[in-house]
Subunit: 414 residues, 2 copies
């Protein structure tokens, strides 16, 4: 908890290429040195996108302006200096966009307003069902001549906080600016559009992509006594979006992963295999750190027997996502009874984490800590992702769960 307090409150946001990201890397290295001896930084070039001045947006109905809360999506281009004003076309998905076609879209701002499905108890499924609007919304809309894109924020909550996140362009399609609007104001805008199709929307953002910058993954080993070449990786990502402190995403995963190694030291457990902590850089907007790590691991023929990521928030743990070999999966599931006292019960969801994913093709069995998902998207990528949203016991229980699982994998292999 003091770690996360420092990382959140003293360092704060850590978007790739930012001063905060550099500080995060240094802090992680220095703290890990206090209980580990084998540490190093792995160089990686990362994208360097900056938000610039605070965005501005409003809609105009009958000459009356109403300001709304937006934020530029990560990777977006700026609007013209004076901003961008146009009529709005609301769509729910790419099919609807396509059916409207160039005739209805050209010169307009496309407003993607398909909500996350609140009836999904597994909130990541709801996220998965909505997030293509954010990632691909601009490039799809630009195909039909749209001049900008406004995307409903990726949250099930109805409030005034815009949620940022990565979006992408395609070199063959013109780049148009893209922003997220808060869900409350998305609802208001949608209601207005039903009454008056001539609503005009204005937004101004001055974000920019600067040249790539040198950054680092942090790697720290607790060497195995019997099979030092067999690596059990545990990690999270050091970078975070710039609107808040990245306390849940993914400060929590970083400190929980560091805690796994720290607990082994504190309890004087000498692992048979090498337990490796990796603090990945640039999960949010490029995955360059993870790709670099996997590339080097492949060259060096590192043998990762398992790779566990914590990147779903510091909430009370429910179990583990898993993907890969069925036999290994069943071996881990055979330990489920031992985890019942930790209140863990969820072993059947497929998944792991963005950063460990590239290690799958090198034979690593992939896992992800699976915390309770109900509150995650309330804060995810928004100004609400701050330390105050963390509960100490929930965070600790996640770290303890990972440590227990690493202990079992170390003891019995996979």
């Amino acid at each position: 908890m003091p770690w996360l307090d420092y990382l959140s409150n003293k360092i704060g946001s850590r978007l790739s290429g930012s001063e905060g990201a550099d500080k995060g890397v240094q802090w992680c290295l220095e703290e890990s040195k206090k209980f580990l001896t084998m540490l190093f930084l792995q160089e990686v070039m990362v994208p360097h996108w900056v938000r610039g001045e605070k965005e501005k947006a409003y809609y105009v109905v009958n000459g009356k302006k109403t300001e709304v809360n937006i934020c530029a999506l990560g990777g977006s281009i700026a609007t013209p200096l004076s901003g961008l004003m146009a009529n709005v076309v609301e769509v729910k998905n790419f099919d609807e966009l396509k059916s409207l076609g160039t005739e209805k879209i050209k010169g307009k701002i496309v407003f993607y307003n398909r909500p996350m499905d609140v009836t999904r108890i597994h909130c990541f499924e709801a996220y998965g069902g909505a997030v293509n609007q954010r990632g691909g919304g601009a490039l799809h809309a630009a195909k039909y001549g749209a001049v900008g894109v406004v995307v409903r924020s990726m949250t099930q909550e109805i409030d005034k906080y815009p949620h940022t996140g990565a979006m992408r362009y395609d070199d063959s399609i013109p780049r148009i600016p893209a922003c997220a609007i808060s869900t409350l104001e998305a609802n208001e805008l949608s209601a207005l559009l039903k009454k008056d199709a001539n609503v005009q929307f204005y937004f101004k953002q001055s974000c920019n992509t600067l040249p790539d910058k040198l950054s680092h993954n942090v790697i720290a080993d607790l060497k195995g006594s019997e099979f030092p070449d067999e690596i059990i990786l545990v990690g999270g990502h050091l970078d975070s979006w710039d609107l808040a402190q990245g306390a849940h995403d993914d400060g929590a995963g970083i400190v929980q992963s560091m805690e796994v190694l720290s607990l082994f030291r504190e309890l004087n457990i000498k692992p048979k295999r090498t337990i490796r902590f990796v603090g990945f850089m640039n999960e949010e907007n490029g995955v360059r750190g993870a790709n670099k790590y996997a590339e080097v691991a492949k060259e060096k023929k590192d043998k990762h027997i398992a790779a566990i990521e914590s990147d779903a928030g510091g909430f009370v743990p429910r179990g583990f996502f898993m993907e890969g070999d069925e036999t290994k999966r069943n071996k881990i599931k055979s330990w489920a009874k031992l985890f019942e006292p930790y209140n863990l019960h969820s072993w059947d969801h497929v998944g792991s984490g963005t950063d460990v994913h590239p290690l799958g093709e090198q034979g690593a069995f992939l896992l992800g800590l699976s915390p309770d998902p109900q509150r995650y998207f309330d804060v995810h990528h928004s100004a609400l992702d701050v330390f105050e949203m963390i509960n100490r016991r929930e965070l600790q229980l996640g770290a303890a769960s990972m440590a227990a699982l690493v202990y079992m994998i170390d003891k019995y292999g996979l």
Copy 2:
């Protein structure tokens, strides 16, 4: 969520005998009338304890006063008007108190400082392991001539919020005033006492027990079509401690229970058995509402086949506590698979709820909603038990879980 918003923010605290409690009863009745026709109020006389002026406390070391945060325990007598000042003896339990005896205790303030065990993942076990200091601390200390009692607050968190809760006297033993001190300040006081046994503690509280007052349980039925005499009860308690809004304890349980019946109406499910909502009065300091309800049920020979309480906070549900007949328990457990999509997995913890408990001896199978317990004692009985601590999705999931279970019990019987 609008219900709980109203109950928390518009009505607020609802301690038995208070104006808030009366308003809570009326509100519950009026809201339930909107979707139910068979409602009534059941009269019950309740204790009427009032806190009076805000408490004051400090300790004195070398003539220097340091103020600390306390609150009177529910049911405590006042200190003398000018307050109470004495030396402090710290103990961890009643055995230690006994071994010190009258010689060491007489004329002193006894400071109970056994923390809740933070290593217990099931936090109610940690509560159970510490709460006898609060409930019985004053009467045990008075046996040895103590003049007052200061009890470490019942929370695993270390902060400045005192947590109130019920305590009891024994007619054969002199009554002495009892208060709770925040955990942070309990730690500070304990550290000071190790350096200087002459620390003096002062506290002043003006609480008072007034004559019993008339209050009510709220009862509302959704009549069964086939077996109207078989009652499935679902409920929580309308009263709450006075330091905050009682949002988790037990506003959440009240609105979740109302929601069960509301969902049946909304989905037009016609139950075979009678689904009954009960909003119990006076769970916190007397259990008079529950005892009255059970007494009348016995007289009327009401047949409760199951009674489910939600009184462990509005957090994400994990499963159900159960107690009673093993066959019925196993029947319910045989449905566990159906509840997995709700993320429910916990069916083995024994328990139910204080208000439904008296129905057990009349043959009702007893259950309690079992939400995740990690955050409950952070807010429980303190100024932090406010609406802002509620998460909409978690609250709703609890209500839906109860509704699903009631549906199954109605459909298949017990």
